[in-house]
Amino acid sequence: MSFPWANEYQPSHPFMKWMDEKLPLPRLVYNSVGSGYPVPRNLNYFWNFGFLALICLVIQIVTGIVMAMHYAANTAVAFDTVEMTVRDVNWGWLMRYAHANGASAFFVVIYIHIFRGFYYGSYKAPREMVWLLGVVIFLLMMATAFMGYVLPWGQMSFWGAKVITGLFSAIPFVGEPLQQWLLGGFAPDNAALNRFFSLHYLLPFVIVGVVILHIWALHIPGSSNPTGVEVKSESDTVPFYPYYIAKDGWAVGAFGFLFCMMLFFFPNALGHPDNYIPANPMSTPAHIVPEWYFWPFYAVLRAFTQDFFFIPAKLMGVLAMFGAILVWFFLPWLDKSPVRSGSYRPTYKKFFWFGLIPAMLVLFYCGGAPAAEPYVMMSQLAALYYFAHFLIILPVVSAIEKPLPLPYSITEAVLGKDEAAQLAPTAR
């Protein structure tokens, strides 16, 4: 579906006409990311991050397939094959560091993409399905990243695997058998490493599938925009090609610049030195931390140190950690405000910048810190606020807030008055 003024695909070359009759793939591309897809004219740079996320996924799949050509999922040699890839394989160092830093880059991009959604209310009707699929993609990304981090079989790999699969042992009654089933043994070993490799190779393609659904669901109502006012007429939009292809291209250039800076000058800055020690099941590193992108959720896990009525602290921590993400699934229904964009919601905006963002940053910081005071207390307060934001503050604020007057249209928001519009010349 698209707006009625969308350009129509009109192949001129006889071959393209023939193709359009047999398999209208060029038409699909034209209507999805070409001139046939009208997009609000006022998107700011935060709207580039969806495209950047796609670029990251491609980087991960390409470098990952290359890494798999040189890797062996066996506890005896896994660590060495990764090191040999870096040292002996032609350009292996580039592939390995691009893959490791690519995971970090992917999460930077996806966090900005998600917080764009939080601020501008992109999750609201009619885009709930886009949001729900996005949360599914995020969960798949977390599972993929976790299993990928296990593969080099260093100390952090091993103990990360042990701690994270240990989460499942918190589930009453079935926990321990479930953990042993997941690992194929009593502790992470060959069986676990092999299945993690298998799934780490599989899940990115599952992500590709859900991304296609995500974009499909997005293209039904079309993109949201910084005002949150829906598209009313043709003057509110410009065709995706060339306008947003060019802008996304610019963003890819800027991203590539920063990515290469990390890759070539600080390739290990985001890694952990302990993962250059081969896995040793007899000795836990003094300070186990997950990769930085899991820190906020790891802090929530560790925030629970007391039993809560009949629920053990361990189970509470696990439930809270998963709950911290699962609560996002309910966001479209927790936030009842009819105004989408945070720019027109003075109260919500304050709670966003001075509440949610600082709470997330505190959780992020504490997740990487040792499990001691004052970090435990800080994580507890921040975790409490985090849940209060979604479950109490959002519903209450959306009920009592008086939003600012919205512009009549996107065109008016951009040009001051609706009649000033000039239609974008098309690149037919």
Binding site: W159, K162, V163, I164, T165, G166, L167, S169, A170, Q180, W181, L182, L183, G184, G185, F186, A187, D189, A191, R195, P281, M282, S283, T284, P285, A286, H287, I288, R302, F304, T305, D307, P312, A313, K314, L315, G317, P370, A371, A372, V376
Partner: protein, 177 residues
């Protein structure tokens, strides 16, 4: 099947076919799920014999059982007294030292070296490692402290360090598993 029953031949075939497909589906899922459980070679991981003759009072060693560490600790009389001084009923996982050791061998505390929180190896068995504020073991991952009977006293772990099945093969050899 007669038409007058209200059951048509088609209905029967439909139900039979869907049921057969369901049974076949379950039949396919069982091996697919079960193959992920611990394989025979992992389960055959056997028992371990540990020579404890060289462990002096106050010392501990780490042995390996099912690819996981086991702590074998020779408690000092002071540590035994500390463990017995606590009213077990007040603990998170109430157990006395006597229940966690073999009769007549109360000084030999043999437990898995696997924190019951998320499975890290607690510190305290090695020379010079932090033993935590209760003098037993301390898990650096999330700060669980165990006392001199390896009972959970503080932190997120729900249970005491697990006591594996073991027996004294002789005065100096312990057979674990």
């Amino acid at each position: 099947m007669a038409e007058e029953d209200g059951v048509r031949r088609r209905d029967f075939i439909n139900i039979a076919a869907v049921s057969a497909a369901g049974v076949a589906g379950v039949g396919v899922v069982i091996p697919l799920v079960s193959q992920m459980s611990a394989s025979a070679d992992v389960l055959a991981a056997s028992s371990t014999e540990v020579d404890i003759s060289s462990i002096k009072p106050g010392q501990a060693i780490k042995a390996v059982f099912r690819k996981q560490p086991v702590f074998v600790r020779n408690l000092t009389p002071k540590e035994i007294a500390e463990a017995n001084a606590v009213d077990a009923a007040t603990l998170r996982d109430p157990q006395t030292l006597g229940e966690r050791t073999k009769e007549g061998k109360e000084n030999w505390l043999i437990t898995m070296g696997v924190c019951t929180h998320l499975g890290c190896v607690p510190l305290g068995a090695g020379e010079g490692e932090a033993k935590g504020e209760f003098g037993g073991y301390f898990c650096p991952c999330h700060g669980s402290s165990y006392d001199t009977a390896a009972r959970i006293r503080k932190g997120p772990a729900p249970k005491n360090l697990e006591v594996p099945e073991y027996e004294f093969a002789s005065d100096t050899v312990v057979k674990i598993g």
